[in-house]
Symmetry: C2
Subunit: 158 residues, 2 copies
């Protein structure tokens, strides 16, 4: 059985995200893992995720960075609070801001690797930096400000 990703510990109500929800059959279902003080995520683009020929469209790069960062933020706060994955409920984060610098084209037939570092944890806010690689080349750098979702978030809007 494959190792559980951070996103596998999201509560069911928050596991339907197109980018990272294990219960969204249409989506990317990305999985992020701790690797020391960083987190990693690998994703194989589909042949139709094209931007120009042979390259991934920029929106996918932004989506992967966004969801990997949200998962990293949740795991980072969880760890800071001394909690273990799978023992206590994992918080869910929303993105306050997303910034992506596109440095080089991302190849569509190669697995994408992302590495995330945690810049800051302050109250409900976690800032995450992400390097995205294709075939060992750094192709994009992302910075995400993620905010822990308040307990009444779903009830407030639904």
């Amino acid at each position: 059985m494959a190792q559980k990703g951070i996103q596998d510990y999201y509560p069911d109500d928050y596991a339907i995200c197109y980018g990272c929800g294990r219960m969204n059959k249409h989506g990317h279902q990305i999985k992020s893992y701790w690797d020391g003080d960083e987190t990693v995520c690998r994703y194989q683009p589909e042949p139709f995720h094209t931007g120009a020929q042979n390259f991934v469209y920029g929106g996918l790069v932004a989506s992967l960075i966004d969801c990997h960062a949200a998962g990293t933020a949740a795991a980072a706060l969880h760890r800071k609070e001394g909690k273990e994955l799978g023992v206590e409920p994992l918080s869910r984060f929303v993105t306050a801001s997303l910034h992506v610098d596109y440095l080089a084209p991302v190849l569509i037939d190669q697995e994408i690797l992302m590495r995330a570092t945690i810049d800051e944890i302050k109250g409900r806010k976690v800032v995450v930096s992400i390097d995205l690689f294709s075939k060992d080349s750094l192709c994009a750098k992302g910075k995400v400000v993620a905010i822990q979702i308040p307990d009444d978030y779903l009830s407030k809007y639904n």
Copy 2:
């Protein structure tokens, strides 16, 4: 026959983008239109484009902003050079940087409206600001730095 969008004037080689390519049957196929000095784009999310319940995932918001900005950049430079859509070939742009501030949840069952303004055109660089609305509420603000693709772009990487 529906009015042609800016993206309908992309050369075939650049019309396969998942976000905005008319030839990508899997993708969003967004279409942007001039509205005075601004451009507009409307998009109906699919039911499975969820983030949390009833809300669109952040990656789609980023993708739509990115592709609407790239189309707007192309049309803006075209217009600045005194060219008309459909008469001379439309340039294609890549994104150098994308920034999105997420202000409020985007409803999944409502049409999304984006309005773009052109902040700057300088050489091959065009800077575009985008407001994204759901049900008349401003839900996200985007800023994109787009760069006109050099003529040898595809041959250089392929």
